[in-house]
């Protein structure tokens, strides 16, 4: 049975911080089909187009009919744990300091044999449910969970290593001035975060909702202006070493395009708050997050970007907004590589129009701030990298997968 996690004691400041290590991350190109599925929380294996054999390990020719048409498809997750072992000694530095480590062979109902990490509650001879997770190297691994949820399941150390669970962690919500920022603070408090730092810029301007924010137990209001490099680096200097998850809630939404816009002030603000703000956060918090990736139960874990789904395909009605979001998406991809040595996940959460003031004239479906906040928390609890929230975001993702050019035209009308 999983033991519930105890709230970690205060870190001993005289002790050296453990350096993060990476488990083996080399994968063949084909095997990264699993990485794509794990990033989104799907369970997908190759299924031969010609003979329907479900295949594992990933490969380039079907072992039944030699077909090379082997796309990844979602398959049933159930199977039986046939045999297990506990690795006590490992030649690999990452696992060496994490033994004992249980792995086992699962016979999947869909066919293949899969050697998988075992959740503490997965028992030999019993049925299990398989999950694809991104491990600290950023590549996909298979994890066998008990068939049904068990108490304190998320606290299993193997599983917690694959996820960014906010429980007992310290979170920074970069902008608490907006409904999204405030909903985020509530959601993280509910998820068991130890401290929720909430950044507020320009304290001389009124902050609607400040009193309600202050009432949330773990919340600590801190000065943070994403347009001011000194403000960002100061906050990182003061609190960086005790922030495990950064959630960038800064937003700048204005309708209007590129050609049919008069002047640059709005666009400059947009780039400053969204893109340059992200770069400031990355430079100020990135190194300390990366260094603390193996720092105990509440090790640094994630950097969360809230991105319009239109970062993926410009929506001309909100054209300069889309472009700024696209800049942030590209930066986030770079950050993913730069933060990986610390095992820090960069999670991008894509959404369509929100139920907030600057999307006022956009017809539904729109995403409520609380829905977005809960999706962020869930994404972290599952250790995802790419999350799509709401009907519009899912729709964009589906259309992009089939014909991006058609989507480009459709968004123009």
């Amino acid at each position: 049975m999983s033991q519930p996690l105890n709230r970690p004691k205060r870190k001993n400041p005289l002790q050296r911080t453990k350096h993060p290590l990476s488990p083996p991350g080399v994968r063949s190109r084909t095997a990264h089909g699993l990485t794509a599925a794990a990033a989104e929380g799907r369970f997908a294996l190759q299924v031969c187009e010609d003979c329907k054999t479900v295949i594992y390990p990933p490969r380039d020719c079907c072992p039944t009919c030699l077909s090379v048409r082997l796309p990844f498809r979602d398959v049933e997750r159930g199977g039986v744990l046939v045999a297990e072992t506990t690795v006590q000694v490992s030649a690999d530095p990452y696992f060496r300091e994490r033994t004992p480590w249980r792995v086992g062979t699962v016979k999947l109902d869909a066919g293949p044999l899969i050697v998988a990490h075992l959740h503490a509650d997965a028992q030999e001879g019993h049925r299990v449910r398989l999950d694809l997770k991104l491990d600290k190297s950023g590549s996909a691994v298979v994890m066998a969970l008990p068939e049904k949820d068990t108490p304190n399941m998320a606290d299993d150390p193997h599983l917690r290593e694959m996820t960014c669970d906010p429980k007992f962690r310290r979170v920074l919500i970069t902008d608490g001035r907006t409904p999204v920022g405030q909903a985020m603070a509530e959601a993280f408090a509910e998820a068991g975060a130890a401290i929720v730092f909430v950044g507020i810029a320009d304290p001389w301007k009124p902050v609607p909702g400040l009193e309600a924010l202050r009432k949330i137990g773990p919340v600590e209001i801190v000065p943070l202006d994403l347009t001011d490099s000194e403000s960002v680096s100061e906050q990182a200097e003061q609190n960086g070493a005790r922030i495990d998850i950064v959630v960038n809630t800064a937003e700048h939404v204005r309708s209007g395009g590129i050609v049919d816009r008069h002047g640059l002030t709005t666009v400059r603000e947009q780039i400053d708050i969204r893109y340059l703000g992200l770069v400031r956060l990355a430079q100020a918090f990135g190194p300390v997050l990366r260094a603390r990736g193996a720092d105990g139960i509440n090790a640094a874990a994630a950097f969360v970007n809230l991105l319009s789904a239109h970062a993926l395909m410009n929506w001309p009605a909100y054209g300069s907004y889309s472009a700024a979001e696209a800049a942030c998406l590209s930066a986030a991809q770079c950050m993913r590589t730069e933060l990986r040595p610390g095992g820090i996940k960069v999670m991008n959460v894509f959404f369509g129009p929100l139920e907030t003031e600057w999307f006022q004239t956009v017809p539904p479906p729109k995403v409520a701030p609380a829905t977005l906040a809960r999706a962020v928390v869930r994404g972290l609890q599952q250790g995802l990298e790419d999350v799509f929230v709401g009907d519009i975001a899912e729709d964009i993702r589906a259309r992009l997968a089939v014909n991006p050019k058609a989507l480009e035209r459709e968004l123009a009308s």
């Binding site: 001389w204 301007k205 009124p206 001011d228 000194e230 002047g263 002030t265």
Partner: protein
Amino acid sequence: MTVDVLSFARAVALGQIRVVDLTQTLSQDFPTIVLPPELGQCAPFRIEEISRYDERGPAWYWNNISLGEHTGTHFDAPIHWISGKDLPNNAVDTIDVTKFIAPAVVIDCSKECAADPDFALTVAFVEAWEARHGKIEPGHWVLLRSDWSKQDFTQYANLREDGAHTPGPAPEVVKWFVEARDVHGFGTETIGTDLGQGHHFNPPFPAHFYMHGKGRFGLQCLTNLDQLPPKGAVIIAAPLKIKQGSGSPLRVLALVS
């Protein structure tokens, strides 16, 4: 009469002429004017290190700065307002440079402003001041001492649900300053020469409307006005020579004998 500038410089160096700095430090924390979100906003002051004796520049320290023409302690030129847009020599690069040195009167309403953030300076109040200190001569800056610069920044901006609540001149006193006293310009300690609620007047923002409409100047976000005599100070306020600039942040110095 000939005046010896070298003697003047010596007097300053020896402290025989007191120099008072009326300027707020340009920093990121200093509030800027906030307009309705749909309109263009004045850029706040921001500073980015280029290098600091490091790999980006081993032996030197320097910064790039970004700010608006109306950020921090700043000068307003007549071209800034619609009412002054067609006047000759109305931009910071074309204003006659002799205008950058002028005497000032300081009208103390600090007690009244402490009691009422929406205090409006009236003709009656100024006439009562003149009864004690003498008539305001032509060509003087009129500086409204509210002691507002002593507030912390949240109180300084004093933004509430219906906008800012900060003191300033009533419409008729501005008109009177220009028509009856031929003033050089109007200066305040607050963000803006007008009341925080000045958009409700007719015309809206009368200090801007009347001053700039008649080719006079504005100074905002001043400080240390409490160190100046009611009369007798000379202000040096020379804005940056920005091409067709509507104003600029600047160093405002007061000289007191």
